[in-house]
Amino acid sequence: MKATDIQIALCGSAGDGTIAAGDILRNAVARAGYRVISFDVYPPEIRGFGKCISRVRITTEQSYALKRQSDVFVSLDDSHAIPHVGEVRPDGAVIFESQPVATVAEGHHISGHIHPGHIPYGIPLRELSEKSTGGGRSRNLVVLGYIAGLLGLAPEHFLSIIEKKFTKQGSEVVSRNQAGFHAGFQAGTATFKLDNVFFTPLGTPHGSEQVVMLSGNAAVAQGCMDAHLDTFFGYPITPATSIMERLAVALPKRGARLLQTEDEISAMAASIGAGFAGARAATATSGPGLALMSEMIGLATMAEVPCVVFVSQRGGPSTGMPTKTEQSDLNAALYGSPGDSQHIVIAPTNVEGCYRCAGKAFEMAERYQTPVIVLLDLYLSNRYETVTLAVSGPPFNLNANKPRPRLEAGEVYKRYALTDDGISPRAIPGDAGCMHVITGLEHNELGRPSDQEEMHAAMSRKRHDKLLGALQHPDFTVSKRFGDPGRVKVGLLSWGSTFGECLEAMFMAQAEGIPCAAMKVVMLAPFPVQPVADFMADCDVVLVPECNYEGQFAHLVQGILAKPVVRLSRVPGSPMPVEAILGEVRRLARGAVTAIAS
């Protein structure tokens, strides 16, 4: 039996309940045991206009990216949906409103735009909503019911998710929305299904795992909580805000603290203060906030204070495109602070990775006494995936500090002692006999200001060398190769959210017989030179797809390894299409660019 692989896209205007419907759908199917990857696109405006699209890919096994073409496409607003109707695969379904309330200008109804290869399902959504709920606002629930009925999904998970979602608004709202769902469900069951979209039943899940549905930002928040974050300081900014919102609810329940500061500079400064005091501390921001934090990050590097900065990238530079995804803050994350201020930069490639990187970031910050930047992007922050968590508990070390040797009688505590691994014994204020100075000025082993040439050289080396240990950090995947072993024609080298698309493209290329492999690089600083060099040595040509204009990661790789790569740098404001990557892989496999690559 073929495994389930169905992508449903809902398109409407802000206020149509499109995103809410997508949310109910992904939660219901996840509760039914399917794997989900889902991404919403919404406008910066609040209500009344602007396009919203919720895409939900439902699979038997976890998938890595959304498909370019959906199997089912729903229009809740034809003016927004018409340009997207081509995103439906051949024989896919297009569900639309057949009884709009007002007259439609010629050419403005979606029915005239549906391709001959699609199956149209014109449904009186508004009428069904009005009949079942007394109003037209539950069209989104009607359409969910219709999809469930048409595709043969049991209603119970939907009904319980609807109840959960609307319970705060009272039982009347819950039953109204459930009634809308039921009306759609009946219509869906009564419709003869013409498209070949099928859900296949699922096996029983492993008892040692629990599967939850999380967005990237929710996974970050969960990782923070499981790593016992003590304090969070933040200033809201799209697309990072929901990390703070979630922590604002969760932290106080555990007696921990969250403070909304007046700006990003303060948020960073406060995190450093808390880190200095021994707390696990973090902040979250986006590109513009990172720019404001950069001086403070330099302070944490110089003072060797652990702290974690989550940066969710959006279109830039400056205010840029707040609701569009991009991977263009890599340079700022790596080099943003003045001086030789290397710190750890890690970038998860999927939602599960967001959870792991969040938790591990605190370990690393503590262990290597440095700021750690976790680079996300809007696509990763906002996309939902089913995540498998071990039932045995969070996999994080709650005290990763290097043990501090006991001071001998009369010994002076050296906060910045030069050691073999570059990591000095860390004391926190109040530790008996460990009074010390920290400063942004260059300093000696005691922490006292010093601008002596040898000391500056020794301290600079220390600050860099100690980070190399992170490349072997326990239970952390710094980089990983997938696909064909040994020599391959095309290697995909990727980071961050684009890796999912690379993986899908690699599978498709392999299915076409192209010898192909892909490597994800999670740790961007310090850079895992050896594994990447080994990977590149195995590839006839290396393709680096990334969502920025300059090819920032390609620059990094070429700068470090002095080897050529082929860039696929795009700034569509949306995830890199799998087909774009596959097209390049095919082109490269045909040997079209041997000249560039050699």
């Binding site: 051949p90 024989d91 409103e97 057949s98 009884q99 709009p100 007002a102 007259t103 439609v104 200008a105 010629e106 403005h108 109804h109 029915s111 005239g112 549906i114 391709h115 001959p116 290869g117 199956i119 149209p120 399902y121 014109g122 003869f192 013409l194």
Partner: protein, 354 residues
């Protein structure tokens, strides 16, 4: 001959065809070849692209996906730039504005309109309340619903017994289903048969294994009811008393032309849309073809229907020609009566669709 040539200053001619059947598709093909620049739009209340409905009985012999029934692939429509607006219903035609109104309140403007909406199965008034207990057989979806409802070797009660139904009956008998025919004046529709021929062919049907109930003698069917527990799903009740049970009850009382939306358009309508042999209506911009139209017969001095695949297809071609400035006339290509095949079974020219 190509009558309409679009030049840069003349916008392309807008041809709108209501109906995605044999006539509509034949016309679209003709329009495209005669006016390569014209905009050709087919509007239909069907979900599927044009498929061969004559093949629907075959669904009972083997599983056929609707794709196997399709006459043209999706690529055909794309390649020939024929836009097909599906799953929408035409509710009115505003001949003054030259606009077709769709149920979702969108107007579609035409320069020339072809009405090719065919016919839908006729249901006697007394059975209207039982509609939900009857299974129609006009579309792929309806055929599949019958297939689902019919158990292995099940019983189908056929009311009326037009030639569409009798075609299905032949298939059902061949797969060992029981077919009970309740006769009506529309039995053998569209053939008009004398009482002797009728009697002869009812006997042929009996010989083929069909149970034939004289509907007139039974006083006609008054109601359909759900069957009671342990009995087949449907009960057909006769006016004179008595009943018959079946797993599925299907009305086959012939077709009535689908013309309701043309009321108020100013087009002459009797039972169907009235046209000359050139398929023009009384409105210069409106043509009609296929089962929906009644064509003037000089011989009979009356408007009459011409059923059958070949006739309908010929009408589509004539309409396309005349919509693009031609002057062709429809001539009947398929007529005939009931006959017997080599095995003595019933046969008809109506069933010759190739």
């Amino acid at each position: 001959m190509t009558a309409h040539h679009a030049s840069p200053s003349v916008p392309p001619h807008r041809y709108v065809i209501i109906g995605n059947g044999v006539a509509g598709n034949q016309a679209a093909e003709g329009l495209r070849s005669r006016d390569p620049e014209g905009l050709v739009t087919i509007i239909t209340n069907n979900r599927l692209l044009f498929y061969n409905r004559y093949l629907l009985p075959l669904l009972f012999r083997s599983h056929k996906d609707w794709r196997e029934l399709q006459s043209h692939s999706a690529d055909y429509y794309q390649k020939h730039r024929i836009r097909v607006i599906r799953d929408v219903r035409v509710t009115a035609v505003d001949a003054g504005r030259r606009q077709v109104m769709l149920a979702h309140k969108e107007p579609i403007t035409y320069d020339t309109l072809l009405v090719a909406t065919g016919g839908r199965s006729y249901l006697p008034e007394e059975l209207a309340d039982s509609r939900h207990l009857l299974n129609s057989f006009g579309t792929y979806e309806q055929a599949m619903a019958v297939k689902k409802a019919l158990p292995d070797r099940g019983t189908v009660v056929m009311l009326g017994g037009d030639m569409i139904g009798l075609d299905l009956a032949r298939t059902l008998l061949s797969i060992d289903c029981r077919v009970v025919l309740v006769t009506h004046e529309t039995t053998f529709w569209p053939h008009q048969v004398t009482p002797e021929v009728r009697m002869e062919f009812l006997n042929v049907l009996r010989d083929m294994g069909m149970d034939v109930i004289d509907g007139d003698a039974a006083g006609g069917v008054t109601a359909i009811e759900p069957g009671t527990a342990g009995l087949p799903a449907r009960r057909v009740v006769f006016r004179q008393g008595g009943d018959v049970y079946g797993d599925v009850v299907m009305p086959f009382y012939g077709l009535v032309p689908s013309v309701e939306f043309m009321m108020g358009s100013g087009t002459d309508i009797e039972r169907g849309i009235l046209v000359g042999t050139n398929l023009r209506t009384n409105d210069n911009h409106i043509f009609a073809a296929g089962d929906v139209c009644q064509i003037w017969s000089e011989q009979e001095h009356a408007y009459r229907f011409y059923y059958g695949y070949q006739n309908v297809r010929a009408m589509g071609a004539v309409a396309a020609s005349n919509m693009t400035g031609g002057n062709e006339h429809f001539a009947i290509t398929q007529n005939g009566s009931l006959s017997r095949d080599g095995r003595g079974h019933i046969d008809s020219s109506f069933w010759a669709y190739d």
